[in-house]
Symmetry: C2
Subunit: 413 residues, 2 copies
């Protein structure tokens, strides 16, 4: 019997198990959400005020309550609370709205609203976060892929592109434990991003620090402070830093924040004053009572790590056991974040995802991690191990590995 | 001594009291916020699920939890929960974002994004809500004032304008207990809005039903269901209905909703899927446990009425006592809402607000209730009695009435 026939036989057996497993979404597991349950008891009918005694219930406070601004100052690594806005339950909304405002009005360095320009482009280090790419596509922003290499996005490509083309208005970066590669940017990448010359005066770095405290163990990545470096380089307005507690407390009921220069923050406040009379301050009080301060938030993350580290470990150990040394695939072994990135040989990813799906294992669509859903080498697959149980992951990954072997064998048959 | 000198003397006496009173803002008073405090105890670490047992803590549920959609179906008077989205803490955000999306993409009936058109105009019944006008100004939408008359905006003007000009893309209406006049629209206005011919195929009515349950007593205004009439007239996509619990539970921590045709709702969901992974569902659970259903919400509003009716009464009684029969001013006596609208004789409003301010009584800036902050007759003053105490209102209104007399006397001197 040929190798292909053997693999096909194994696959048919797996398929017969009628599995229904899902490794598509970067959602916290239920036991992770349980970690923050005590927070729900910390604001009550008799106790709901801010530390300073402010009434959190009424309108007002466009940029958040003082203690939440203090927390996000540390979380987003700004120098001052004047460089912070604390918002509602979603940093995705902050990012989307920032782009939307640049499109309709331009930003604080623009002479023209982006929507009035013939063409607007964004650099998209790839593979990357699909929702960043969706926002660009939604607003008609042309996406220019940039390779992800060791230490982050390829700065040689970036520097050449932004220097030459004033229609390139921004770049998306997930600087730490990036989605999906788990890569953290090097000091050199930070320095070069801060210092590079951009043809567009209103160029902005969208620094989505989604996983900044999401370590898997005590062996953590530390990245250089881009905002500080931008200031030193004379480009203080270049960067917007985003973060939220969505994967720290409750995914749907967290608080989010943006860090940027005072000029950028004032620009943002001007826009916010058109669209809201302030964020949900009671929920900010709830969060601050739970964390007390940034050290409290960091301690809390250790509990998350204890829950999800075994899930990452089982993925890696099955990949090593089933695919190690076979030249069929490579994969990341991140120190934090929410994903493991699996690269098959070229031209196999779509087929693997299809085979897995047919066998009852849902994976993120192949291509989703690239602009326009187009992975030019058709090789990247994003694995999201946080939501399923360890036992489910084990079953799912055995199928995934088998599908990698089968797809490769099919291709070479 | 002349009348003017007598009034000037009285005014100087009032000024010497060094008052510091504020009747500018439509904010709930602290005792109103207290009414909803029990809500804060209804979601706890051991009890946070939806009625159906859904986990309210994670991502998902773009359009809200099922029971909140049921509530807003009744609240916004749609036929089905498929015609409802329940969002975050602010209907202002829903309104702003709807306009922003029309500007960047057009709506579900548009052939062109509004931002790509040479000119976009909105009809603005005036006096009206300043934040509606700010949104228009922010997006470069030309505002066309329409007179507010008995029974709502002047339909003769509106019908003629929308039939003739396809750059008129929408109209703002606060249909019940309007801001600031307290006027509720007549059945005829609803019928004519539903049936009128509009040159623009993508014309939209922004029906800001901010005060739909905000009655001051059992003598309530009932308005005809515009959404149902639009459907009957074959114009189901014409209207977006907005509402929130901001002035029902907590002004900063309520929940908001939009009601519209399924076509409009699907359009909106498509946009929302770009900008959020869902609203704060835990806060929706909290609200639903507090209200249980729409009848519960309506009962709750009676407690608000009991608190604020005396505040409205004292404003009216002082106006009547000090200005009644003097041909110096007219004022509304609304059955609900948040405002009393005071019309001085022409050319006096700015002076009254200035005089009052100098005597320590802050009023909403004259002109704020008109597009471009321009009250062509300089006569409208918006009085907001909910936040101050009855005693403060009494002091403030005595000053206001004196200022009306003085400003008029100055003008005729």
């Amino acid at each position: 019997m040929s190798d292909l026939a053997v693999l096909q036989g194994k696959y048919d057996e797996a398929k017969a198990k009628n599995l229904a497993l899902d490794m598509t979404r970067g959602k916290p597991g239920s036991e992770q959400l349980d970690l923050s349950l005590p927070m729900l008891d910390l604001v009550t009918s008799s106790d709901y005020k801010t530390i300073a005694g402010g009434d959190s219930r009424n309108y007002g406070g466009l940029d958040g309550i003082p203690e939440a601004k203090e927390l996000f100052k540390e979380f987003l690594e700004t120098e001052s609370t004047n460089e912070v806005i604390v918002g509602g339950n979603s940093s995705l909304t902050l990012m989307h709205d920032t782009i939307a405002r640049c499109i309709s009005h331009g930003n604080s360095s623009s002479s023209t609203a982006w929507g009035k320009l013939e063409k607007v482009k964004f650099l998209c280090p790839s593979p990357g976060y699909d929702r960043h790419f969706s926002i660009c596509e939604h607003f008609g922003i042309e996406m220019v892929p940039v390779d992800m290499i060791e230490g982050g996005p390829d700065m040689d490509q970036i520097e050449a592109l932004v220097a030459a083309d004033d229609s390139i208005k921004g770049i998306w970066v997930v600087p730490k434990y990036g989605n999906p590669t788990g890569t953290s940017v090097s000091d050199e990448v930070v320095d070069r991003l801060a210092k590079m010359s951009t043809a567009a005066a209103d160029f902005r770095i969208f620094w989505d620090n989604a996983y900044t405290v999401h370590h898997l163990s005590d062996d953590v990545d530390v990245i250089k402070n881009l905002f500080a470096e931008c200031k030193s380089a004379g480009n203080p307005d270049r960067v917007f830093v985003f973060g939220s507690t969505s994967k720290i407390t409750f995914a749907g009921s967290g608080i989010s924040g943006i860090g940027a220069s005072e000029s950028n923050i004032n620009w943002m406040k001007g826009h916010l004053s058109m669209s809201t009379i302030g964020p949900d301050k009671i929920n900010q009080v709830r969060h601050m009572r739970f964390f007390k301060n940034f050290a409290g938030l960091q301690d809390h993350m250790k509990k998350h790590a204890a829950l999800i580290k075994p899930k990452f470990d089982i993925v890696i150990s099955i990949l090593e056991a089933q695919l190690g040394g076979k030249s069929l695939a490579s994969w990341t072994n991140p120190k934090g974040g929410y994903f493991i990135s699996l690269d098959t040989n070229n031209g196999c990813a779509k087929r693997v995802v299809q085979l897995a799906s047919d066998a009852g294992v849902k994976l993120t669509a192949a291509g989703a991690t690239f602009p326009y859903k187009n992975d030019p080498k058709d090789r990247n697959i994003r694995l999201a191990p946080t939501l399923p149980s360890v036992e489910e992951i084990k079953l799912a990954m055995e199928v995934v590995c088998l599908c990698v072997e089968l797809a490769d064998a099919e291709k070479n048959a």
